[in-house]
Symmetry: D2
Subunit: 464 residues, 4 copies
């Protein structure tokens, strides 16, 4: 081939291409802290097992300590020519301490090393997301408490169906984010086994103690199969899957915020802190943050589907394709950390308009179910028949262009003669909401109880 084929961005030819496609240091430097921590544990174990001398071990620890500090302060300089985070740190160690550095890699390989680092990173990411989720739940619970009595329409098909309280609506999201935390917690348990000591893929003939390194690095135990240890990326997939489901919740909440803050709904407003104005139309408050929250779910789905696709075709054990795992995991974390903070801010920031909400709740015959239930409960009419009678009464109200509670008793008796004036007691939106006292129902009294229960279940920082 002539050199003509190299043009454009890669006119330098194969070397430039290979460095660009092969090097991972641009992103895997995010594993630097974990890499040092893993090396320190490995070194301690090598000494304890008599595989390297105490003196060598001491020199290594000392050198790694200095590297650790440089990493923490941002003083460590990563070189692209050294390809990845492991080689960068190893080379630096050799610079610092000379010969003993060459003993650190005994009974270890980059394959088990990167698997260990990456697991620790994902574990830390999960811990951070858990904290952010707790904050978001806290903001939702606080808002729910403040609005335990605020009536709004409960929707199905975006059509008002029954009155609910705004507090109750918000607590639904507390449940969702609670399940998200459960999924991350389960993923954390499952990932928390240590690949270190699996070597390149087959284990090692050195008398290592994998239980010791596992323990030192906070893992529950070493992984049982060395080939699985270096080829498994389930932990990243499971974390991304949990992230994707969490993203659907954030997106649903955001969709509601966008709809609620439209002029037509007018249920909530955001302050300037969480909306974007226009110098020309100063009254305008675009819910940009909510829209981005909603839109960013697509990105997380993409991260998940991307890594599923990568892993799907790979024979054991390590293949270079697996290098694609990290950017997906990093991107999902950065996106979610930001989105959770934004969601927490949006929830705390939103200003409901109880009057608009209540007005909306009274329109649309939202207490028709209460009417039907009254027929069943008081007149002992079978539900399906009560359903039918209610339909007639609603039709009548519609023709009179009034709400159910504005009909006369005579109107109602035209559909069912046994109806008494008592029925009017269940036809206000307040009465309707207050009557839903079944477990998990929307009654303000329930909501107050659920607020207390939710704090107990989810908010560690509020526990005595």
């Amino acid at each position: 081939m002539t050199s003509k084929i190299w043009g454009g961005r890669f006119s330098a030819g194969p070397t430039a291409i290979m460095e660009e496609i092969n090097s991972s240091i641009d992103f895997d430097q995010r594993l630097a802290k974990q890499d040092v921590r893993g090396s320190r544990a490995h070194c301690t174990m090598l000494v304890a097992q008599g595989i390297i001398t105490k003196d060598d071990g001491h020199a290594i620890q000392e050198g790694l300590g200095r590297i650790e500090k440089d990493i923490a302060t941002g003083a460590f300089h990563f070189k692209r020519s050294l390809e990845d985070v492991h080689m960068n740190i190893e080379a630096k160690l050799a610079d610092l301490i000379g010969a003993p550095a060459g003993r650190l890699h005994t009974a270890r390989s980059r394959n088990d090393q990167v698997a260990t680092d990456f697991r620790m990173w994902v574990r830390a990411a999960i811990d951070t997301l858990d904290e952010e989720l707790e904050k978001l739940q806290g903001a939702l619970i606080d808002k729910a408490e403040a609005h335990a009595d605020t009536i709004m329409p409960g929707f199905t098909h975006l059509q008002a169906a029954q009155p609910v309280t705004f507090g109750h609506h918000l607590l639904a999201y507390v449940e969702m984010f609670g399940r998200d935390r459960g999924r991350f917690a389960d993923a954390r348990v499952r990932l928390n086994e240590c690949p270190l000591g699996a070597g390149a893929l087959a284990g090692t003939s050195f008398p290592i103690d994998r239980h010791m390194t596992a323990e030192k690095l906070g893992f529950d135990h070493p992984m049982a199969n060395s080939m699985d240890a270096v080829s498994d990326r389930d932990f990243a997939l499971e974390y991304l899957a949990a992230a994707a489901i969490l993203a659907t919740h954030l997106s649903r909440l955001a969709e509601e915020m966008v709809i609620w803050s439209s002029a037509q709904f007018g249920f909530i407003q955001f302050t300037d802190a969480f909306s974007t104005g226009s110098s020309m139309m100063p009254q305008k408050r675009n819910p940009d943050a909510a829209e981005l929250l909603r839109g960013k779910s697509g990105r997380i789905f993409g991260n998940l589907i991307g890594l599923l696709t990568v892993m799907k075709g790979l024979p054991l054990t390590y293949s270079k394709d697996m290098q694609e795992d990290k950017e997906a995991a990093f991107a999902a974390f950065d996106t979610l950390e930001l989105c959770l903070a934004a969601a927490t801010g949006l929830v705390a920031d939103m200003r409901p308009d109880p009057v608009r909400m209540r007005d909306s709740a009274t329109a649309g015959f939202t207490t028709a179910t209460d009417f039907a239930d009254w027929l069943v409960r008081v007149l002992n009419i079978p539900f399906r028949e009560a359903h039918h009678v209610t339909g007639q009464v609603v039709k009548l109200a519609e023709s009179k262009n009034c709400e159910l509670g504005a009909l006369t008793l005579a109107d109602m008796q035209s559909a069912e003669p046994r109806i008494t004036a008592d029925v009017f007691n269940v036809l206000t939106v307040e009465a309707s909401a207050a009557s839903r006292v079944s477990y998990g129902g929307t009654a303000p009294a329930n909501v107050r109880k659920q607020v207390i229960a939710a704090r107990a279940r989810f908010i560690k920082s509020r526990q005595p």
Copy 2:
């Protein structure tokens, strides 16, 4: 508009279109068993709480019992005009017992009903997949036991790296499928809370006992928020996510089977039971089943991404979009049940060729690591230096076109004078594999221990 716009498949116009798009009976009839079970529990509770009479309750139970039998025998006739499984069963009950049927729907709505049915279905699907996974693990463990000593090349980048045992390789999959079972089990715990009693979305004013129905249907407890109860489909998403990760494992195993059964590898053969021949080329055995196993992962990914997309945009509570949840869940189950059975069959069926495998393992200097480790262990050379010496020796062997073990001691000493004849003891593939006795390593002795441990961890049916 003129009626001209209706043509093609839907020339009957709106009615035909709406029936086609809106009706779910074609697929949700798979929930029939769960629907009846849910109704029976609801009825029992209504009687216990005095919401309906014992006589009505008795009649309902009797009618549902007959319907249950008809469903089990396939005698139940579902009508498309009745739209969904709930209306089909309710209508049939009314036919059978008349008026009391109209009382069954008291304090209930289709929204909490379908959520309950579908959760029970997914729960049962998970239980079946768990059983199928156990069988597959059993087949892998059996095969691993039979091949604890069978040497094959361990690959990275599809390049031979170190000798491993075939048994060890197979046990890596036992770990993967073990994690899959863990994921499904966690999903099962999380889904196992009962939506029944949430009503349309707000709860109910009837004095229902949600704990009773939850218990009767095998749920751990009722869901805490009625709006969440009817709008949540996390359980389906989490099940699909676990399914997608499982699919990557099946696909990886299948990819290996396809490669191993190529003439160029020649590691395994399938019998006629699990391959497809050709009347013209009777020796040909296409690994069709393995290829389909591999290909069907795409379908599961599609099911997952499809439902994530649906849920992502929905405000609370129920929207009709959510009707899309079932077919995805059903399809993933049917696919995986079949694929797991096929995988179990393929594993049990495959006939390894130990000679081809061993020959492949000896080529490519796969014991170079053993050589380097010997230098470290015996001569106390730092690993990175040992690494370098090994490189020189391998280069020498390559230039002589022989394996490492075929070099003379003098050859080796040309690279490092202190090398002794003892080194030859670590250069056979058998010695190499046998030396990897670190926890989780590939040594045959380890594999035998792991086989026992794996049976104890995973195979309930073999436990005393």
Copy 3:
């Protein structure tokens, strides 16, 4: 292995599993018509080239003719034991005409045969979707024409920004669906080359005439490379990609319909034909069809991602994984054909409420841009400064809780003394919309022109 491992659905063991996983007749019978057509063209060519005799050719054509009729009337009985549509038809032909049937498969293989059949099927699917898209555009154009003057708020961020006409809004979708048709048309051109004659993968030594078969089957030319011919599924991927983009348009339209038909917006209503009521709340009209339209996009995305995943890992040429191509293509077609019919119906059915729309358009200072533009045009103030002045005036109006047009001239002059009463002419929503006469703008006069242009561009059936 003991037979114990077979349980559950596949207790019959390997045979049952293989038949279930391997057989494609349950779905590929949809290719029957194409398969016969392909065979007839192949037979004609074999005779013309002297590869088989005229008598044999005649017998084959006669037999295929009978099969064709049976398929058309549904009388053809497909047997699962014969695995796929090709073997079913070939076996039937042998039954009907005996020996000559064995000559039909000369110079052909199932690999090129199925590729040919499937291309013809996708081509026909595209043609049908194009017709359905034309109908949908027709309905949109008709509605746009009827509402060329109907004022509604134009939204950004679901916040009213400027007045537009409903007709203009609908024409935006005509553009989208027009691009969809363009994508399908391009895909059709690209797929329209014929794989027949590629044989199993290498071509053939028989003196076939691929140009003749290509032409007879309506292809533009034969494919240039036999290996590509049997391993390519780009045409299915491209069709699914076009389908996915189309699905986003349907989903956007549906999202608007759901929002517009909420009580809070109240912009449109659907009749009973395209909404689902409730016997209890007869006034309720759930936009079920629109929601399903929106939800079904997830399914199409899943079909696309599924097949991308399948194809991504495959070496040349045919692999059994590719059998997964058909169900995805069929499912996407069935979904879209239905959704397009539903969308057409929904568009034709929707009843806008011009009063609600106009009221919404007047709220929110939607003519602020017109005010600013007047300052630029008449007073020659730089746009950014005009922008600033407008902000002050809007703030004033907001503080007085009135619209811009309700301010006094003095109010306005307090922000900018040069303002004259002429400005009031641009502050009504009607004046605003009417002023947007730039090409593609929302002025009613423009909309009327665009309606004519759109009919000319898109509606063949209306052309003279």
Copy 4:
């Protein structure tokens, strides 16, 4: 809320969060060149239409010229506080030229501005990818020409089926990449209409000339509907869909490279330029670049599914979610530009081993079809019967552990007495390949013709 809720990365509270989530300047600065070009065209038109004065126009052009230079040299400093590329450039222009800068935004909005910029960017990306694809095709064609006679096994199911030539195999990819170019070209035509002048969403009342700006910016015409103009992102979706299909081709080629370069296949080797060695195992050549090529398809699929998900739920017109469009498009381009360069390098670099390939092609009775075809052609036996006779002969050869050509004539006549010695002429892999002279078949003579044809169709730079 207390300030306690702000912690972790966003302890600065709402301001930090909003800047982080809302600002797009970190990525949309890639549109800077397009943004200036768009502004210059807009300015020229404003002057031509008399909307701004010549002097103002002159000042603006001069200022934009200086900005353009700064951008080209990297001297332009983007500020995060100015949020996006448009505001950064506009602010800079105001700094440079003062008041006239405020007139540039007349009759324009950020909505039509960004849509215009982004379209121009995607158009340029397509042009670059087209060039890279041409280079890749060039490398494939060159390699195919060099190996027009090199025999290798043609695979189905990764089982050798028939002998093909390596050149023919490579030309299959030339077809695939040719279709990719076709898809990008079609997407380019469809995207090449200009949104500029659509304003915020409704058009404008200024007498602008959209045809002039469209032409100046290289667009075919202005977009017909202003609301579509600002809310459409089809062009990004279609580009990503074409990218995803291209990624499947790169992945398939890479999968083959990985398999071919395994020791077991041994069909090709990469030089050090395109493989990664090991200092310890210097003979080892890991096909890292090919693996990354394969793995990066997942990322592109993720980009596509991400944007489909974003767009799917959005009402008209602009929503902030759409800001997610750019990073997906940028990432896909960067990935593909790199992957195409790597693929070109890999193709040019790979060193086939014709002996290994031919040996592989002769094993496995790959000329059985030739035998059957001989029976049909010479003895006039129906194909299906010939198929059967061939099966018997292959079985015989298998039992004798020899290839077909090594059987005696008597052996063959035991299956079919009419066979003559002439049959041996078709049983070598060379004869088999050479006989496939049907259009598109693998015969070396065909391959040579196809090489010439492919150059004529695809390689502009080689045209006279």
